[in-house]
């Protein structure tokens, strides 16, 4: 009996302990405020993309004309081979690779390795920029060759082009903004700003944003191209 009470009491304390830790004074998370702020921003941004994707699924289901077959529309003929989704595959690969180089940049940043951090950031920037470049190519091909417009297309439902341009465009803007953001951070790294003020964690904060943008792409890829 007494034993039971003791167990119950410790259980109770554990639970209170968690609440205590969380609601300790000064700060809830043991991280710089910039990082906490970035997390919260990304949560908000998640809701934006979720709304986009939900809206896309809704209009796709309610569209009155047939939905074009994505793997056909996004096929390229390379060296005489007809390759469905090849460009998207490459783009996805590039973006995921850039997440890798970003992670390395963060790692070097914590080791305070100024040059390697900057170098890895540069790789990330190049990969990100080439993603945007390939996206521009894809858009051009759709618009010029296939005649797909936001307001209509010869292959079926007008919402196909509308959602495509809206969602990939919005994501592309995120990538472009990320490229600029990383360039600013890289410059500060190179100049040695963070060596002076000790704020190397700013590289990690930029990294959070970058990984998020990659993750969103995976969802867009799955829902838009593979469905």
């Amino acid at each position: 009996m007494a034993h039971d009470i003791a167990v119950a009491a410790t259980g109770e304390n554990d639970h209170i302990g968690i609440v205590r830790d969380w609601s300790a004074d000064k700060q809830v998370f043991g991280v710089p405020w910039g990082k906490a702020m970035m997390w919260i921003f990304l949560l908000s941004d998640t809701f934006i993309f979720s709304c986009f994707l939900t809206a896309y699924m809704t209009v796709r289901m309610s569209a009155v004309e047939p939905w074009p077959n994505a793997s056909e529309v996004f096929a390229l003929t390379l060296f005489g081979h007809h390759l469905p989704l090849i460009l998207i595959a490459i783009m996805t690969f590039v973006l995921i690779t850039s997440s890798g180089t970003m992670a390395m940049a963060v790692n070097f940043a914590y080791r305070r390795d100024r040059r390697k951090t900057a170098l890895m950031l540069l790789f990330t920037i190049i990969l990100g920029a080439s993603f945007v470049g390939m996206q521009a190519f894809e858009w051009t091909k759709l618009i010029v060759d296939e005649g797909i417009r936001p307001w209509g297309n010869p292959l079926g439902a007008a919402q196909f082009g509308a959602t495509f341009f809206m969602i990939t465009g919005f994501h592309g803007l995120h990538v472009s903004a990320g490229v600029i953001y990383l360039a600013v951070v890289a410059r500060k790294v190179l100049r040695g700003d963070y060596d002076r003020n000790g704020r190397y964690h700013n590289v990690e904060i930029a990294g959070l944003y970058w990984h998020f943008v990659d993750l969103v792409w995976v969802f867009i890829f799955a829902f838009y191209y593979l469905w």
Binding site: S23, Q27, F47, P150, A158
Partner: protein
Amino acid sequence: MEQVAIADQHDEHHEPTSFITRYIWSQDHKVIAVQYGLTAIAVGLIALVLSGMMRLQLAYPESFTFINPIAYYQFVTMHGMIMVIYLLTALLLGGFGNYLIPLMIGARDMVFPYLNMLSYWFYLVSVLVLVSSFFAPGGPTGAGWTLYPPQAILPGTAGFDWGILLMLISLAIFIVAFTMGGLNYVTTILQARTQGMTLMRMPLTVWGIFVATILGLLAFPALFVSALMMLLDHVVGTSFFMPALLSQGQLTDHEGGSPILFQHLFWFFGHPEVYIVALPAFGIVSDLISTHARKNIFGYRMMVWAILAIGVLSFIVWAHHMYVSGMHPWFGFFFAVTTLIIAVPTAIKVYNWVLTLWRGNIHLTVPMLFAIGFIFTFINGGLTGLWLGNVVVDVPLSDTYFVVGHFHMVMGLSPVLVIFGAIYHWYPKITGRMFNDTLGKLHFWLTFVGAYSIFLPMHYLGMLGIPRRYFANLTTDFIPESAQDMNIGITAAAIFVGLVQILFLINMVWSLRHGKPAGGNPWGATTLEWQTPQTPPAHGNWGPTLPVVHRWAYDYSVPGTAEDFTPQNVPVSPGHDTEDEEART
């Protein structure tokens, strides 16, 4: 990496030197708060004038040549949108959030003051864009504050060309502004509290603003996305929300879109928006009641959990605004259930306010009058909300004046009363001077009685079946003629209430110079903002050292203490002179 808590970091806020950096491009949260507040009140006055014109038209249809049906719709739309977004949201979060968060949690400023400053300037731009639509070709949009497509962008609706465009752009800018401010509020509360200020010691005002801001950060995205999609439908010619239809005898270029999708997105934002406005008001009113009744808030922990529960639930009730949209009845059932569940934590809060007043040492100061007025009004609006939450009751009442009466009670009058109470309560801190008490009391009674004369009769008109958003109800068989008399009475009250606000403005301006010096803590309040070394608080708020918190925010009339309040930064002496559970365990 060793992490230094923000509250312990070396102070980096440099004292502004010139007039411009001090009052215009200021990064000080207090100045930004006042900028937000004044701008919001200025647009709010526009919305008030618009409501007066609507009321004139409804009382004396066919008398005013400058109010035609088109103009009436424009007034309704701009009135509703300005009140909800540009006045209430901006004033409660941008205004009170900015002013109170750092002061109440013992911080020197927001964590990212520059972003905070940008937030205000984006807000100002969004207001200017909105107001510019009055001067655009075709005038502002007349689509109703809900902006439902297809009609919002079809010829036949006022401002279908420019008006709606500017409205959507303005909303998008507002959301950007809100996000910049909101990130600051949330992060500051989470990460920059002073020593001893645990989450469970924060004043309820901070809790309300905190949860409301999170709601905003998660709900505004839906409005942003729907605004963007409607912009594309309108400007580029996509068909997200536009089905194939005939407009003025012509087939439009649209096909296959879903108008219901817009309604879902809009209300996924729209319902939490009600709580974005309500939760800060709940929090503030709790503190007003506790301070002016000289009693600790009843059930502090329950109040916090209720705020959190309401916040979560508010995301799964949105379709109670769509019972008549033709959605599946099972959805209606689901949303009715969740809507009624949300009444539980809400009712807990109301009971706790009343129990706080119970046997309190009630000082009927001006802020307290407004707080008590709020409790009445909120109960009133909450009860009609229970009616409307039920599908079978809502269907006949939907789109009648009953709804207009309901939402004006619950999200029009209630938050406005709290805002007035809050302005009177913190005016001495913000300006260093007391307002004129007699004028303030007069303002309360005339506003309260006047506003009830506006909104109570509306419920009755609604039950008669008078539709909402009608320009004139002239020769309709089912409406008795006496309804028109009532309309005239409502209008008289509305004009009266509008004019009474001049008393408020005069009081605010007059007291700036002629009010009695307030001293640091005129109400004998416990929370930190009243314990600043200077009043009004100087840049950096606290002088050389931050305050240290030893107790919760509600040590009023604790037995065994000399005064009837003990500020949060007073250490707990051996003996029991605090009601704070944490300090005692």
